[in-house]
């Protein structure tokens, strides 16, 4: 099991992702582009991701 910090990002539509940096960035960028026609950057995702409060699954969740 990895000790890497888990991060959390939520969308205004209710979608949420929890995972490591390398898991959460592509998940958020994919959600933004595929569902909301928005394009962003890794830096934008990470600048606003918050530490996940619960050490639950490391898998991005929809």
């Amino acid at each position: 099991m990895s000790n890497e910090q888990l991060l959390h990002v939520g969308c205004v539509c209710g979608w949420e992702a929890v995972g490591t940096e390398d898991e959460i960035v592509p998940a958020v960028l994919d959600h933004g582009e595929r569902i909301h026609n928005m394009r962003g950057t890794r830096e934008q995702v990470l600048a606003n991701a918050k530490p996940a409060e619960q050490p639950a699954s490391a898998e991005p969740s929809e």
């Binding site: 990002v9 969308c11 205004v12 539509c13 933004g32 569902i35 909301h36 026609n37």
Partner: protein, 164 residues
């Protein structure tokens, strides 16, 4: 893209999509964001109707109908509202809820309503769809199967209009 408290939809022109379908004789609201309005950014050079059709097709599946039904100013943007009809077979595991009737948001004679709930936008959208179902041959044809005409009959037909 911004992420103040999670990310929100930006851009000067946005689409608010109401994905509706018939669950038996009941109109229901669904979508990839649940039983709620689905917001997308719109930009150049794609036509708004083409953008909505493309994204619905990619995410949900081929729509039966895509129609813009109103517009308003909200979220620091011009928001174009769309009613999108899908076949029941496309709902899958998306959350879905019956659509309740709602009072319309009414404008002043020369001013927009100050507050508009999404249920009011959807109510107007379905009234617009009811109007198209009798006035527009293409829409009438698409909604000729099943109980669509009967389900839409209680909605007082209304043309496109600005809500805000």
């Amino acid at each position: 893209m911004s992420f103040p408290d999670g990310f929100k939809i930006e851009g000067p022109v946005q689409a608010e999509i109401f994905v509706v379908w018939l669950n038996g004789d009941a109109l229901e609201l669904t979508g990839p964001c649940g039983a709620a309005p689905w917001l997308i950014e719109l930009g150049e050079p794609e036509h708004p109707v083409a953008a909505v059709e493309r994204i619905v097709r990619d995410v949900v599946g081929p729509p039966v109908l895509v129609h813009s039904t109103s517009w308003r100013r909200d979220n620091d943007a011009v928001v174009l509202s769309f009613v999108v009809v899908i076949d029941a077979s496309l709902v899958g595991d998306m959350a879905s809820m019956p659509i309740a009737r709602s009072e319309l948001a009414r404008s002043e004679a020369t001013a927009a309503p100050t507050d508009i709930a999404y249920q009011q936008v959807l109510e107007h959208g379905l009234r617009h769809l009811a109007w198209l179902a009798t006035d527009d041959p293409a829409v009438r044809d698409e909604l000729s199967s099943g109980p669509w005409q009967r389900v839409l009959a209680p909605y007082i037909p209304e043309p496109f209009r600005a809500l805000g």
